[in-house]
Amino acid sequence: MLKKILIVDDQPEVARLLEIVLRREDRQLFFAANGEEGLAAARNSCPDLVLLDIMMPGEVDGYEVARRLKKDPATAGAHILVLTAKVREQDRLEAFAAGADDFITKPFDVFDLKTRVDRVLG
């Protein structure tokens, strides 16, 4: 069965990097460049996994996206992996409080990321 991954990041080169690292035959990737787009894409695609940046242009930041995804029964089941340049402990706590399931700081080890994603998606 095809697993769906939603990548929400405002920086195209990061999105591209994630695409390269995570692409597989049994996976379908979706992209969004800000919070609003991310929420819309999640509603449409019902992803199994969301890779979520925190700081993005626009009204809705990553924390808010996580909160809304967990609140919406349609998307509440998605595994949320926060991928951010915010490195302070309080950022990590805030992410988990918002509903994140995992937290990786940028710059990240691509193999570590790959392993974590594989573990979630099987």
């Binding site: 405002d10 080169e13 990097l17 626009g58 915010k86 490195v87 080890d109 691509v110």
Partner: protein, 645 residues
């Protein structure tokens, strides 16, 4: 005197008077004479006694004698004369004339009740028939003695005053000759008063041959008015000299009284006091702090002129006010309560911070210190103290705190900003190094990302180095070359046409050939900063206009966006380093150094930069660059020919 019974003079006369037979005309004439003589004696004011020398008894006395000695006449007559006159103590004149029969002797007569009557007594020896008598005529000199005593006392007192005063007192005649001088005057010359008589003060005291200029004594004789002057003598002493005209009974000027007082010490004390006062006044008025005094009601009774600089008031405007009158209402209550407490405790206080209103209305933060002062009974009279303007210090503290906060934020921002390009660089290089199968096109693509992000990283490092250099005072090293306004925009082509944003840029460059003398690389940095801000702070796809035109002596460039804009507060701070207009929107990347560097570059070129903005409408950054003068370029007028451009 008809009712008076005159005592008969002798037995013969009494026998004759007691007889009833008519008097002979001759006898009658004698009798009349005797009676007239009697009346004369009785009317005399002097005491007249007739004393028989052999019996030493009073044989006759006039009415004044009875009255003044307080005896009934019949008692006085027949009394031993010693009862009245104390012959034992009589001081007979030593040089009595040879064969004299009268003596004038001052003495005291004894009255009936024992009191003494001072008299001048005339004593004469007489013989009536063969009988020797003494006639005593005594005049009451009580009044004269009293007057003499009083005069003596008054003279003595006057003398005492004149002689005991420290003041030199000299009486001059109309010709300024000394008539009399007191002890102090004589002693000042080590002479006696008599030695001064007839001399002139100017020769005695001043070794001059003529009166001193403006001598107050000479003037008082001339004008008839008192005059005074301060004179410094050869020995350095200071004298206060006063001259008073002296007039005789007819009101004519007889001369002048000179009074002369040594006021050297007083002058020195006054001078010393004046010096001390001046010293304190200078200190009080020179220091930058405002010195004041308030009474026990908190009303200003003194203020140094510095209040003018601190609060804009003239000292006389502050006198009569209280400190609380100069404070905003919100502040006055609290400070007044504090001051009230200090007044009750009579305690000093220091460094009380309080906000005051400048005469112009703006707020001034003062730091007040004060000490109480008291009268001799330890009653509080008020406070004296100083106020220091700490507005600038407060502002500096604030600025320092703010700059500290911004620096901390900068470090965290910088760390974050550096992580973004590093994510791509590390991620893509890891992918490239992995054994994964990648197409050549992908490899090239990934390498280009790595290159791009490394450049961005390098740009940030360059910014930080620029700021560090500017901060350390080294300034920017400019490499100016002649070129045109158009060329500065053309060199931006890679930036303008390279990215996905290319459709957004609108160019409106007038007078492209305008010659400028600039560092082209630095100008590119300016444009890139302004343009990337415009892109960052405006919605994707909205137009960004780059305009240029000649403005007087300068060429003006502007970069305008239709983005989120800024509030006036944000505009005011846009050129501060580490400042990011919207720090909360961390999605907008940047170190917050760009605009600070941009301003430094423009100003290093002798130009000027400013920003106009309105929230929701967009931001326009303008900057002026001075036009290149032909001589300044050093390469002639036609810069088009310059191969460098």
């Amino acid at each position: 005197m008809k009712n008076r019974q005159f005592p008969p003079a002798n037995g013969t006369l009494r026998d004759e008077l007691s007889g009833q037979q008519p008097f002979s005309p001759e006898f009658q004439m004698h009798l009349d004479n005797l009676q007239r003589f009697r009346a004369l004696l009785d009317h005399a004011n002097d005491i007249i006694l007739l004393v028989r020398l052999d019996s030493r008894r009073i044989v006759d006395a006039n009415a004044s004698a009875c009255r003044q000695l307080r005896y009934p006449c019949e008692m006085l007559v027949g009394m031993p004369v010693e009862n009245v006159v104390d012959f034992e103590s009589l001081q007979w004149p030593e040089e009595a004339e040879e064969g004299a029969e009268c003596w004038t002797i001052p003495t005291q007569l004894r009255r009936r009740e024992g009191g003494l009557l001072p008299v001048e007594m005339l004593l004469c020896m007489e013989e009536f028939g063969d009988t020797p008598y003494v006639v005593i005529v005594a005049r009451d000199i009580t009044e004269r003695l009293r007057a003499e005593t009083e005069l003596k006392k008054s003279e003595w007192e006057k003398g005492l005053i004149l002689e005991s005063t420290q003041e030199l007192i000299v009486f001059h005649d109309r010709e300024m000759r000394i008539v009399w001088a007191n002890r102090a005057a004589a002693e000042s010359l080590h002479l006696t008063g008599d030695q001064l008589k007839g001399r002139y003060c100017w020769e005695l005291w001043h070794q001059r041959r003529s009166p001193c200029n403006k001598c107050p004594v000479v003037r008082s004789i001339r004008t008839g008015q008192p005059h005074s002057a301060e004179v410094t003598s050869e020995d350095g002493k200071v004298w206060l000299i006063r001259g008073y005209p002296a007039r005789n009974a007819e009101g004519e000027i007889e001369g002048a009284v000179e009074m002369c007082l040594d006021i050297t010490e007083r002058k020195q004390a006054e001078e010393a006091l004046g010096q001390t006062r001046k010293q304190f006044q200078d200190l009080v008025e020179t220091i930058n702090d405002w010195v004041w005094e308030v009474d026990k009601n908190g009303v200003y009774t003194y203020t140094s002129p510095r209040v003018r600089d601190l609060l804009g008031y003239e000292p006389e405007e502050v006198i009569g006010k209280t400190p609380f009158d100069l404070m905003p209402e919100s502040e006055a209550g609290g400070v007044a309560a504090f001051f009230q407490e200090m007044m009750i405790k009579k305690e000093a206080f220091s460094s009380l911070e309080n906000t005051n209103r400048h005469k112009n209305g703006h707020r001034i933060v003062l730091e007040t210190s004060g000490v109480p002062f008291f009268d001799e009974n330890n009653n509080l009279l008020g406070y004296r103290g100083v106020d220091r303007d700490v507005t600038l210090r407060k502002k500096a503290e604030e600025t320092l705190r703010e700059s500290d906060r911004m620096k901390t934020e900068f470090i965290s921002t910088a760390a974050h900003e550096l992580r973004t390009p590093l994510t791509s660089i590390l991620g893509f290089s890891q992918v490239l190094l992995s054994p994964e199968n990648l197409s050549d096109a992908e490899r090239k693509e990934f390498l280009s990302y790595i290159h791009q992000q490394a450049r961005a990283l390098s740009g940030m490092v360059a910014d930080m180095l620029d700021i560090a250099r500017i901060e350390s005072g080294q300034g920017l090293a400019l490499n100016r070359v002649p070129c045109t306004a158009g060329e500065l925009v053309i060199q931006l082509s890679p930036f303008l046409q390279g990215g996905p944003e290319r459709s957004r840029f609108e160019l409106a460059i007038a007078a492209e050939a305008t010659p400028l003398l600039v560092d082209k690389a630095k100008m590119a940095e300016v444009f890139e900063n302004l343009l990337s801000n415009a892109v960052k702070y405006s919605p994707p796809g909205s137009p960004i206009r780059i305009a240029g035109e000649i403005a007087g002596e300068s060429y003006r460039f502007s970069v305008a966006d239709r983005g989120i804009g800024m509030t006036p507060e944000q505009v005011a701070r846009v050129f501060e380093k580490f400042y990011r207009a919207d720090a909360s929107d961390t999605a907008v990347s940047g170190l917050g150094l760009g605009m600070s560097i941009v301003r430094n570059i423009v100003e290093a070129h002798g130009g000027k930069i400013w920003v106009e903005s309105e929230p929701g409408r967009g931001t326009t950054a303008h900057f002026l660059l001075p036009l290149a003068l032909p001589e300044a370029s050093g390469k002639g007028n036609n810069v088009e020919e310059n191969p460098d451009c």
